[in-house]
């Protein structure tokens, strides 16, 4: 069977029959080429979208969620409705204990974030109002902070010693420091208190309320400076990778309701934002897109391959006499069939390979165009080599199957009838 593949005559015959009708062959090949092109571009593009979404979320743990206190809506345990709830520092260990799926819990407190004035920050003759966050070092496990070289984020020693250190934003740096000045090690005044700058964080878009001027100081320092006691504004949390984030969110609220003596059905006492759930929905959407593009691509390939089968059927009909001559000269039905199937697979594969090249080319262009647009959820559109191989395999398979029809037709006619054909 494979002898035919390596014989020059086989190829001479295939090219002979292709050359007889170049335009028709070209148009047919374009059918399959278009199919694989659509497949590659669509699945690459949807992978790009997928990567893009992932990039948007890369600053935060994908299964993170945030919980804050609001007002109660149901009277309970002697408390009237509308009670102001307040999260406390010991809720952290309580939650860790009660909700085992939680990996990290970072208490946060801030001013100038949700309304209210920011801290007044001064350095030399320059000043401004900036949001200031009191944070635990663990925060970076939940929402990563890119720190410029030479600096660092807050650490446990800062916390333990209630150090007056801060991490400032890119904008804060440009507004308070000279261009050629290195802020690390220098001091700025936050609400009349001197803080040493230990790091500058890179700002990256991607939603959330933080921005490029935020100042982070140790939670313990914040508590002391602003006299906030054990109050916590909100918790940033991350569940383990395999945890069901929706269930975890429910457990957290239920636990907090018990601790803070809130009616179990009170939906307003604690507010939350479940990034994990949003992320899952977006992932679901992009997986759906990916799947859709696979289906559309494969269906288009199929349509193209059917076109090849159709054209071979016509070509076999036109070559009836030639095939009759071959059979008179001793070609067995199997050899005739083989020739037509090889022709079918060859056309399909050539079309497929050109389609893959063109598709990759278009993906490369899309990639180049979207490379420096970080706001657009699109990154690195790729098609795994496995998928390309599957597509090629599919084409060989379909090419063979579809080639069987004209091949069978070619041998079903008696040699003498084939020879009589004009």
């Amino acid at each position: 069977m494979f002898r035919a593949l390596f014989d020059r005559d086989t190829w001479q015959e295939i090219f002979g029959s292709i050359q007889k009708n170049k335009l028709r062959t070209l148009i047919t090949v374009i059918g399959v080429l278009w199919g694989i092109f659509i497949y590659i571009t669509l699945s690459g593009a949807s992978k790009g979208l997928d990567n893009g979404f992932e990039r948007q979320f890369e600053e935060v743990a994908i299964n993170s969620l945030f919980v804050w206190a609001q007002n109660t809506s149901i009277p309970y345990d002697g408390f009237r409705t509308g009670r102001n709830m307040q999260l406390k520092l010991d809720d952290q260990s309580y939650l860790m204990q009660r909700v085992p799926q939680l990996q990290y819990v970072a208490p946060r407190i801030a001013r100038g974030v949700f309304g209210g004035d920011g801290a007044s920050v001064k350095r030399g003759g320059k000043s401004g109002a900036y949001a200031v966050y009191g944070d635990f070092p663990i925060l970076v496990k939940i929402a990563s902070k890119d720190i410029f070289d030479g600096g660092r984020f807050l650490n446990q020693a800062d916390m333990d010693n209630q150090r007056k250190v801060c991490v400032i934003g890119e904008r804060t740096q440009t507004e308070l420091f000279e261009k050629d000045e290195d802020p690390i090690g220098n001091y700025i005044q936050i609400d009349e208190m001197y803080f040493q700058v230990v790091g500058i964080h890179k700002f990256s878009g991607g939603g959330g309320f933080e921005n490029d001027s935020d100042i982070f100081i140790p939670f313990t320092t914040y508590k002391k400076v602003y006299n906030t006691g054990d109050n916590v504004d909100w918790f940033a949390m991350a569940a383990y990778d395999n945890a069901d984030v929706v269930a975890v969110e429910k457990d957290i609220k239920a636990a907090l309701k018990v601790k803070h003596r809130v009616h179990p059905d009170d939906e307003f006492a604690f507010g939350s934002f479940n990034l994990g759930e949003v992320f899952n929905r977006v992932k679901g959407f992009s997986s759906g897109m990916y799947f859709l593009s696979l289906i559309v691509g494969i269906a288009t390939i199929l349509a193209g391959v059917i076109g090849i089968g159709n054209i071979l059927l016509i070509s076999v009909q036109e070559r009836t006499k030639e095939l009759g001559i071959r059979r008179a000269l001793g070609a067995t039905p199997r050899e005739v069939r083989m020739q037509i199937i090889i022709e079918s697979v060859f056309l399909t594969l050539i079309a497929g390979i050109i389609g893959i090249i063109l598709g990759s080319f278009v993906l490369a262009i899309i990639n180049a165009m979207t490379a420096d647009n970080s706001g657009f959820p699109y990154a690195n559109p790729t098609v795994p080599i496995k998928f390309i191989l599957i597509a090629l395999g599919l084409m060989v398979g379909l090419g063979t199957l579809i080639g069987l029809i004209p091949a069978q037709r070619a041998v079903s006619i008696k040699p003498i009838d084939a020879l009589r054909e004009e």
Partner: protein, 234 residues
């Protein structure tokens, strides 16, 4: 070489059945050169096609070189055609996109002979029919006589025992026809059995035996004194 007995063949078209061969008994010995004659519709081409295994008979026996040819599947028939038989057709039946040499090489391809040997043998046979210098020409660059010689070379290249020719001179002028018959006679001289279907009296006389068919039966089967075509060829 060939033995047929009670060979019947009919074609059904709609409700009408046309009986083409009505019980043919016919033997051909090795080395014979037989002309099958008859008017059109007499069944001569049908007989040749059945002998060439391009068509099948309805009933009767056919033995080719001691092999009973009955109920052969297409694959076996193809192998027999390739091994025992060579064909020459009135309309040449060359493949237009192949050169003369490539056309002659084709039967050897199906014999799984390697390309180099195919080329050498095909070139040799083209030279034997006087077309050595035309090897690289395509059929449309050749005259009718040349095309038929290519067809003969192609029929001979697989070294068949029997050469079947269906009106080989039908498309040629008389001078070219005689040249071609000269070639065929020389082939017969080497011991290859020849069966030639023709309706031309002078061509038939260049064979050693003439079989007349009329309405599907043999009406005459006689040995004749062979006229050498070379006497007509300058």
């Amino acid at each position: 070489m060939i033995k047929i007995k009670e060979l019947h063949k009919s074609y059904t078209m709609g409700q009408n059945t046309l009986y083409v061969l009505k019980g043919i008994d016919f033997d051909v010995r090795e080395g014979e050169m037989v002309a099958i004659m008859g008017s059109s519709g007499s069944g001569k081409s049908t007989l040749l096609n059945i002998l060439g295994m391009l068509d099948t008979a309805d009933s009767g026996t056919y033995i080719l070189d001691s092999n009973p040819i009955k109920e052969l599947d297409e694959t076996k028939a193809a192998i027999y055609r390739n091994k025992f038989l060579g064909f020459v057709f009135q309309s040449f039946n060359l493949i237009s996109y192949k050169t003369a040499l490539e056309n002659v090489m084709l039967p050897l391809y199906y014999q799984k002979v390697n390309r180099k040997e195919r080329q050498a043998r095909a070139q040799n046979f083209l030279e034997q029919v006087g077309l050595g210098p035309w090897a690289s020409h395509h059929p449309n660059e050749l005259s009718g006589g040349q095309k038929q010689r290519v067809a003969i070379a192609r029929a001979l290249v697989s070294e068949p025992k029997v050469l079947l020719a269906d009106e080989p001179t039908g498309a040629l002028d008389s001078k070219t026809s005689y040249e071609l018959m000269d070639v065929l006679q020389k082939i017969n001289d080497t011991g290859i059995t020849l069966l030639i279907v023709t309706h031309e009296e002078d061509i038939a006389k260049m064979c050693k035996r003439i079989v007349h068919l009329r309405d599907g039966v043999i009406v005459e089967d006689k040995k004749v004194k062979q006229v050498r075509a070379s006497s007509y060829v300058e």
